[in-house]
Amino acid sequence: MTESAQVSVDERIKQESFLAKLMKRPELGAIAGAILVCIFFLITADPAMFTLSGVMNFMTPAAQLGILAIGAALLMIGGEFDLSIGSMVAFSGLFFGVCVVTWQLPLVLSIPMTFAFAAAVGAINGNIVIRSGLPSFIVTLAFLFILRGLSLVGLKMATGGSTQLRGVRDQVENDWLAPVFSGEAFGGLFAWLAELGVVETFKNGAPKVPGIPVEILWFIAITLAATYVLLRTPAGNWIFASGGDKVAASNSGVPVNRVKISLFMLTACCAALVAIITVMDAGSTDARRGFQKEFEAIIAAVIGGCLLTGGYGSAIGAFFGSIIFGMVVIGLTYTDFDQDWFQVFLGAMLLIAVLFNNAIRKRVTGER
């Protein structure tokens, strides 16, 4: 280029304040919400809630939901929904249970097989959505019922009439891979801290918190991985692009269909991970596992700043969305409030989050 164009600063653009810049982060709402909820429980709840064991107490359900919510958030950013993840937890739990109990396979085979199985179901979901062009809402709503029904029927077939498959614990107890998916991690560290008197102990000297539940570590690892992928890899850019405008994305050379189908598979794998962790934890699997988790996961993703229309959101947001969730579910038991306020709270949070997100989107795109 021989001539460089004349460029002048546009006098009509105001300097942005730090606050305005902060407002444009998708996860801001969730972080602010988490702080508010924290303050609320600091005032109203028993101080036991914020001891180490109290924190583990609310982080465990938060993590189980959060693993699903991260998957749901990525899929929502990619412009699709999956209402079948709750049923998927039950269905892959059934498959995992059958692998372990009925077929007596070691975890090193059962776990990859469960993931492969879940990914295959996710791929079916994704392919139907992509090829038919129908809204993913309706296709996965169908799968919500199909998978839940199959879990029931399958369980009865596997157990000869019961809707619960027991005996998982006996099978996996001595498996070398079990500690990765169940129980607590860093037991040694906590025991050492207990000896030093840093953490609370029972009378016999054992720490009150024997370690960090593995699901919390999985939850954090998945959040970090998802954030890295979204913000720092080409695949992340493709996810935003596919959700933002699939025609524009594919005209620019983004493999939109592949991205979306992969996201469906990933979401299903997140459900399978939750299934594996909770089934091993409980020692059995049943057909009600993951009931209504799809809604909770989507709510956590929306609180985390994901737009229902896709193309915007963050994994960090879904992380805090899930923590809010866990804090409220467990936190209410530490207060004098009736626990059934939980649902009211959930709906209100969702409504506020959607209103807030809508306002943020208008800011970002400069709509008026």
Binding site: N251, S252, G253, V254
Partner: protein
């Protein structure tokens, strides 16, 4: 008429071999004949305007050229070789870049992310292979500055840009990625006066770098301002190609509209169309 504009016009285009040459292209959709024999070529450093009224087949034609549709009949030569593109990506990699009317821009994403959409620069290897966002930001700011747009920041969302600026981002993106042919689908149709002249100036800049520009429009005045050659498309057929200076805007207008009825209409409107 050759109303002189401030834009440069290619003179050497006569003897240069065309980059893309399309011969007697036909495209049928079921029983509908969208293109019934279209011939068109683009040479490096020229702006070839494709004019036609709504429904003339302009969009189908560019989609054929950019690899979205496969022609039912006819031949496409790219740099002298017979060519058939399976996907828009193939065409893009060969150097045919298309800026569609919807611009392939995502308002919620930042300018940089849009700029590199589908072709993200990476660094590192294997699992550590990642989107080189610093480099991308730097390139994006630099390329936009060259096109005369000073971004607030590379993370500015495309949604906050004006129509003309978005158009320029799309053009800059195509040029940066080594387009030999730049197809612009009605780039000025939704723009104001000032933004239109900015986009026309951008087209002129792009042409000067030796890129062949295909400028699709139904606005004869915009076409006349930058075009070197003009091809008129009517009812799926090309009505011939004229060089700059060989044809007047009125003639072009007539050909686009299909002659007679337009003359009558124009009479009743007092020659204002």
């Amino acid at each position: 008429m050759t109303e002189d504009t401030k834009f440069h016009h290619g003179d050497a285009v006569k003897d240069v071999a065309p980059i893309v040459e399309m011969k007697e292209i036909e495209k049928h959709f079921g029983n509908i004949i969208a293109l019934a024999g279209v011939s068109f070529d683009v040479k490096p450093g020229e702006c070839h305007c494709l004019l036609g009224d709504n429904g003339a087949g302009k969009s189908t034609f560019i989609k054929t050229m950019s690899g979205v549709h496969k022609p039912t009949k006819g031949e496409i030569y790219f740099e002298g070789q017979p060519m058939s593109f399976d996907t828009p990506r193939d065409a893009m990699e060969a150097g045919i870049a298309t800026v569609f009317q919807d611009l392939a821009m995502i308002p919620l994403m930042s300018v940089t992310r849009n700029f590199f959409m589908g072709r993200e620069p990476t660094k590192g290897k294997g699992l550590l292979k990642r989107f080189d966002i610093d480099h991308a930001n730097q390139v994006c700011m630099e390329e936009m500055r060259k096109m005369g747009i000073n971004l607030r920041g590379p993370d500015q969302a495309v949604g906050t840009l004006s129509g003309g600026e978005r158009q320029t981002v799309a053009i800059a993106r195509a040029v940066y990625f080594g387009a030999k042919i730049l197809i612009l689908d009605e780039p000025t149709s939704a723009l104001g006066v000032r933004q239109t002249s900015n986009v026309l100036a951008t087209i002129d800049r792009v042409r000067r770098q030796g890129i062949g520009v295909v400028f699709i429009s139904h606005n004869v005045r915009h076409a006349m301002a930058v075009g070197d050659r003009f091809t008129v498309l009517n009812r799926g057929k090309t009505l011939g190609t004229a060089r700059r200076g060989e044809i007047s805007p009125e003639e072009l207008q007539d050909m686009m509209a299909g002659g007679q009825e337009m003359a009558e209409l124009e009479g009743s409107l007092g020659g204002t169309v």
